[in-house]
Amino acid sequence: MLNRRLFALLIKETTELLRNRQLVIFLTISPVISMVIFGYVLNSNVSHLRLGILDQNQVAISRELIDAFTANQVFLVDGYTYKQQDLTNQVKRGKVDAGLIIPSTFSQDLMQTGTSEIAVEIDGINAYSSGLAKGYIAQIITQFNLDLLLQNQPISTGLEIPIQSQITFRYNPGTLDSWFFVPGVIGTIITLSAILAAAVEAVREKDQGTLEQLLMTPVASTAILISKIVPISGLLTVTLLMCLVVAYGVFQLPFRGNLLLLLIFSILYIQIGVALGLAISAFSKNKLQTILVGIFITIPIILLGGAVTSVSSMPLLFRWIAQINPLYHYLVILRGILLKGTGLEVWWLHAIAMIGFATLTLLVSAHRYRKQLS
């Protein structure tokens, strides 16, 4: 009897959900498309910075220095100027990202004193890229000096470079940005979709006025709750699988860990999102409020969860806050399984946190939803 009722509810909710074609498309196709786009687009590396050059020295060594700047694509020569004022203006107006000034006495100083000054002006508007650019410049200059030194050291002929750092990138040997961002985008999409769709879909029955009729039937409120959670979770699981297929097929993420655990914790995360959405719908009076509150909750979850920036770089307070952000834990697990191949023995604490969140959100939303029903 109970099963038949629950079954009827599930059929009804599933039919209603699937009948809203536009919603289904926005929940399945468009996440996959966005994932492809963002997987390609998101690139934290800094390259192709426009470099303006004022070379007042115009000798071989000054040209060598310019070549050193542009050797690894970090900088591209945008143009040459002949007055320092022009170059500074270009930097200040954002025409070029950086300006390299080589004074006329450059080669002379270097010969005579062994040291010479150049100036680099950087457009600091983008603190991120200017920071990286500064680092690259320091590296370029040091390498240039080293090369200079090695050329001028008569004793070192035929010798190997004395110190070398052998750097290997574990988990992501090619330092592919997509390997970092794809799991982040998956987490973002699931968060957005689960919370908003569940909230709006759950409030719909209240808006339509059919809730009363439903309450007059002998179904238990738990059954209603289950019927609100299962179909949307099912659909989002399909979305998730599609995203994973894209991650594997298009972006060639290594999928090093246990796929079963990946699925279990992904579904668990979908549950958390859906339960949060239900709780939001139970707290708000109408659709507009539901949507606004939904977005309100979603934005910090995404921003503070480490989807596009590292949680470890955040101020201490926000690193603590991340601990109560389910997306943070999910992303640790997701990246752990996809990239590192780690298992429960490594991220068991995060797993427990997620199970805790799932239980908590389900209890809260069940309680609120029930209260609203009676």
């Binding site: 009897m1 038949r4 009722r5 079954f7 009827a8 509810l9 059929i11 009804k12 039919t15 209603e16 009948r19 809203n20 339509q208 006025g209 059919t210 009363e212 009729q213 439903l214 309450l215 007059m216 039937t217 002998p218 179904v219 238990a220 009676s374």
Partner: protein
């Protein structure tokens, strides 16, 4: 009640029925209008002309194509073929001269009365210096001026429709299109609404109105009967009735059911055209009044039944309509409900199913229900009657356990403790005012859902769904989305959905609102059938002649019960005397009489006037002289027993009037 027409200082309208100007261009001219939706055709060649100042009624069963016709006339939808001219312009170009009240809610619930009107005024470019004057004029006319700041969403059904009409009128359109404007509106407000319409046509506004209520349609100048996307008949109500060629016999008897059964045999033999129970009387249609009367008397004598009175009458528009539909073969089927074998003996009718003691409900300062006592037995149909906002829906919701009570006690099916237990809900059925079905599911999916949540075993489920589809006449169309169904049809499906599990107690909140006449009759047959099988039924309705079919009923005014009993008990308790006047000029006579008596005492019933007089000896001659002095012929005067509607209006007025 304030004088509605006090502000209507309009020039007296010439009697158009006598002198329709032939030479002028028709205000609305429709030629060969077709509309297809995919493969289904909603309109199949409509030709129609409506003259200036006409009150034109569009009637037809649900799904006849009325709303489509309105959408095309209103310029919001394109016709597949043919054209619709309004004031000589294509409908879409004439939108500035049209006011269109859609069937859907056309107001912004989160804007106030005044803001809604201002918005409509701006939308239709009402000159700014005139807005205030017009707004005041129409709000006063509709008696809404006290509620300027109230949000539209918080108005009662009747007020909403009046406000919607205000919004349509603010631009002083020359044509008004009203698609079932009185659905869900109570009797009293409905009358006021039609009084307003009458006064508007007096200002030469042309009105096309659709209504499922044929008593209302009697007030139209001309009527078109639509069926299956075509106009079947068109003419003045008098013409249509004359063309029917049938006489009506009104039989008053106490044994309604048996008399009807006895007379139905005469229908089968073809001696009588039709027999139906309407409220407290039986109506028979016969080609010849004298012969028919004799046939009826003979048949009743045979069956050993007696009757108080058989009275020949002119056929009504409803007779015209039902006869047409019967000829078309579109009468809703009455199939026996496929009951599951009874598990136990039927609960004795003496047992009380619903009991309420001193029930109260407050919403803030507002007292929605005051000290209500109810005792409803199994097998009883109990009517809860009242104007919009009288507390009927609140009462039902409390009895259903959907709304907590402020104070008092209730027992439902003997249960006093947990009124929300699934076991109890399994024994109850509920059909809410509008929102029983899921719009985005098909009919079949809705029915499967409800039979599923009520745990009906699969085999019975199929049988019952087939039954619902059959009584709704929707076989083969069960895969339509519910959203696409006309309102009346939705109601029928919703009713089916709420009774499939054979509830012991059934709550029906305005089950027949927006439902056409024939389907309404069928509804009541089904309701009575369930009652005979022991179900206790609590029903609300705005149609008083339906309410007569209730075993018992009560009137509610402002949350209080003001009268209770059977229909005859209530009618017998009415003070004063009721007279029916047959007059040549209905509207003018009506207006004239209302200037002298309290407006509620005078009302239009079909093509007659009803007047309630406390001292008939002195007042009746006064009526005659009043009409005579205005040169309005009075054809006939007759003393009548009170109908339930008269009783209702009287009770409501004496109890202080309908709430706003």
């Amino acid at each position: 009640m304030p004088q509605i027409l006090a502000h209507a200082s309009f020039p007296e309208k010439a009697d158009r029925t006598l002198s329709t100007p032939v030479q002028e261009i028709a205000t609305i001219a429709i030629r060969k209008l077709y509309k297809h939706y995919g493969t289904t055709s909603a309109l199949r060649g409509i030709d129609l002309e409506v003259q200036q100042g006409e009150l034109f009624g569009l009637i037809g069963p649900d799904g006849a194509g009325k709303t489509t016709a309105f959408n095309i006339l209103g310029g919001v939808m394109e016709a597949t073929a043919g054209n619709a001219l309004i004031l000589g312009l294509p409908a879409r170009d004439a939108r500035n001269y049209i006011g269109y009240l859609t069937q859907q809610f056309s107001l912004y619930p989160d804007l106030s009365v005044e803001e809604n009107i201002n918005y409509s005024a701006g939308l239709r470019l009402v000159p700014e210096d005139q807005i205030e004057a017009r707004r005041t004029k129409y709000l006063t006319l509709m008696q809404l001026d006290r509620f300027r700041d109230r949000l539209a969403g918080r108005l009662s059904g009747g007020m909403r429709q009046k406000l919607a009409l205000c919004c349509a009128l603010i631009s002083e359109p020359r044509v008004l299109l009203l698609d079932e404007p009185t659905t869900g509106v109570d009797t009293i407000a409905r009358r006021e609404f039609w009084d307003i319409l009458a006064s508007l046509t007096a200002q030469d506004i042309t009105i096309v109105v659709a209504t499922p209520d044929l008593d209302e349609a009697e007030r139209c100048d001309r009527v078109a009967l639509m069926y299956d996307g075509q106009i079947q008949q068109i003419g003045t109500p008098a013409q249509l009735k004359a063309d029917l060629g049938l006489q009506r016999l009104v039989i008053r008897t106490s044994a309604l059911f048996k008399t009807e059964q006895a007379l139905l045999t005469l229908v089968q033999t073809g001696e009588l055209a039709d027999v139906s129970t309407l409220g407290d009387r039986i109506e028979v249609l016969t080609p010849d009044a004298q012969l028919g009367k004799k046939q009826v008397r003979d048949r009743l004598a045979q069956a050993d039944l007696d009757c108080d009175r058989i009275q020949p009458e002119v056929a009504t528009l409803e007779n015209v309509f039902t006869t047409l539909l019967r000829r078309q073969g579109s009468v809703p089927q009455s199939l026996p409900f496929p009951r599951s074998p009874p598990e136990s003996a039927i609960t004795p009718a003496s047992t009380i199913a619903i009991a309420a003691r001193d029930l109260n409900r407050h919403f803030g300062n507002f007292h929605a229900v005051v000290d209500l006592n109810l005792d409803i037995h199994y097998g009883e149909v109990y009517g809860l009657l009242g104007a919009n906002g009288a507390g009927k829906t609140t009462t039902i919701k409390m009895l259903c356990g959907l709304l907590p009570i402020s104070s008092g006690t209730m027992a439902i099916a003997g249960e006093t403790g947990d009124l929300r237990s699934p076991a109890l809900r399994q024994r109850m059925g509920y059909m809410s005012q509008k929102f029983t079905l899921y719009d985005d599911l098909t009919i079949l999916e809705n029915l499967q859902f409800y039979s599923g949540v009520y745990g009906i075993p699969p085999r019975q489920q199929r049988e019952k769904i087939r039954w619902v589809l059959a009584i709704c006449g929707l076989e083969g169309q069960e895969h339509l989305l519910t959203r696409q169904l006309p309102g009346g049809w939705k109601q029928r499906v919703a009713f089916g959905a709420s009774v499939m599990h054979e509830p012991e107690i059934l709550f029906l909140d305005e089950p027949t609102s927006g439902v056409d006449v024939l389907a309404r009759q069928q509804f009541w047959q089904l309701i009575n059938d369930f009652a005979r099988n022991g179900t206790a039924i609590l029903v609300t309705t705005h149609y008083m002649n339906e309410a007569e079919q209730c075993n018992r009923m009560c009137f509610m005014v402002a949350g209080r019960k003001v009268a209770e009993g059977s229909a005859s008990e209530i009618k017998a308790a009415q003070p004063g005397q009721l007279f029916e006047l047959r007059v040549a000029q209905l509207q003018a006579s009506y207006d004239r009489l209302r200037q002298h008596w309290e407006p509620w005492r005078v009302s239009i019933f079909g093509d007659r006037l009803h007047i309630v007089l406390d001292h008939s000896n002195q007042e009746l001659p006064q009526v005659e002289s009043l009409l005579q002095s205005a040169n309005l012929p009075l054809l006939d005067t007759q003393s009548l027993p009170f109908s339930l509607e008269d009783a209702f209006i009287g009770e409501v007025q004496r109890a202080g009037g309908a709430p706003p």
